[in-house]
């Protein structure tokens, strides 16, 4: 994240490492949205996402000195956060999604199908969160966080070919699971 030729993340990291912990507030302000949203893709629960993101920021603060100055800060930040979320997801049960949350997913050209589409979209997203971790992580970073293959690979610390294979396999598993769910939901096919 560079503005006007300067890198505020790099400046804040240097200030923190020089003994000014309050400079970390700048990093939190700039990255709270992306980190909370990334956590939400894992757990599909707003309150839990904030707790997970808080833990991720704490881990980032503790290991700030391990960030290599020549690497992109955001890649390192997402790598730390993904590791935190992955280990936290091992401890908690699979995500449950309250449907009353304010989401608006519209089915193209069919306003009456909004509720149905919302329901189906949530089923798909929940299915991603319930995939085996290595496929889930790749899909979340690539689709939800809109990273490209290269950035996803760097964040996960694996080669680009591995990411492509995991995305391919993850999508296939997702399609199978959605098909299974759809076969138990005859009203979905009517829309």
């Amino acid at each position: 994240m560079e503005r006007g030729g300067q890198d505020p993340d790099r400046d804040d990291v240097r200030r923190v490492l020089a003994g000014d912990p309050d400079a970390f507030a700048g990093i939190v302000r700039r990255w709270q949205g992306p980190l909370v949203n990334l956590a939400y893709r894992f757990c599909r629960n707003r309150a839990q996402a904030e707790e997970m993101a808080q833990e991720a920021f704490l881990r980032v603060f503790r290991f700030l000195s391990q960030w290599k100055d020549d690497a992109k800060f955001s890649t390192w930040l997402f790598a730390v956060a993904t590791n935190v979320y992955r280990s936290q997801m091992r401890r908690i049960r699979p995500p449950e999604v309250p449907l009353e949350e304010d989401r608006e997913i519209r089915a193209p050209g069919n306003p009456e199908a909004v509720i149905e589409a919302e329901d189906l979209a949530e089923v798909v997203r929940r299915a991603v969160a319930a995939l085996p971790p290595k496929y889930r992580d790749a899909l979340i970073l690539f689709y939800f966080q809109k990273m490209d293959v290269r950035e996803t690979a760097r964040t996960l610390g694996v080669p680009e070919g591995t990411v492509k294979a995991r995305l391919h396999r993850g999508r296939a598993m997702l399609e199978q699971r959605i098909e299974r769910v759809a076969s138990f939901r005859p009203q979905t096919e009517a829309t």
């Binding site: 997203r125 939800f144 997702l174």
Partner: protein, 117 residues
């Protein structure tokens, strides 16, 4: 459901906004952590990497020097002579042992006092 529909659903997941006091909560946690742990994590990985690089470079230098048949520098000969003296040999064993013992005692005391987790 077509694969493209799945991809569209995944890409169109709505963003959520953190609570207004989220950054404040994080900073309070950070300050509490500083009080508990006494600051930032020591960069052990960098220290070990640096020491490893220095060791490798020293070994490579010595090996190249030996292969070229260079005469040993006077300082190395002096060090070798000094290290062979009985008092120095004894000290080479006991000084590191004492330092390690002192380190363990400090570490255990801090742990018992709850200054380290």
């Amino acid at each position: 459901m077509k694969p493209l529909d799945i991809e569209r659903i995944l890409r169109d997941d709505p963003e959520i906004t953190p609570s207004p006091d989220f950054s404040g909560r994080v900073m309070r946690t950070v300050h509490r952590d500083i009080e508990l742990r006494g600051g930032l994590e020591f960069p052990w990985a960098r220290l070990v990497t640096g020491l490893a690089i220095c060791t490798v470079l020293t070994i490579v230098g010595v090996v190249i020097s030996v292969m070229r048949g260079d005469p040993a520098p006077a300082v190395l000969e002096h060090l070798a002579r000094t290290a062979r003296q009985p008092a120095i040999t004894t000290a080479l064993v006991w000084v590191p042992t004492s330092l390690a013992g002192a380190y363990l005692m400090v570490w255990w005391s801090m742990r018992a006092a709850g200054l380290r987790r």
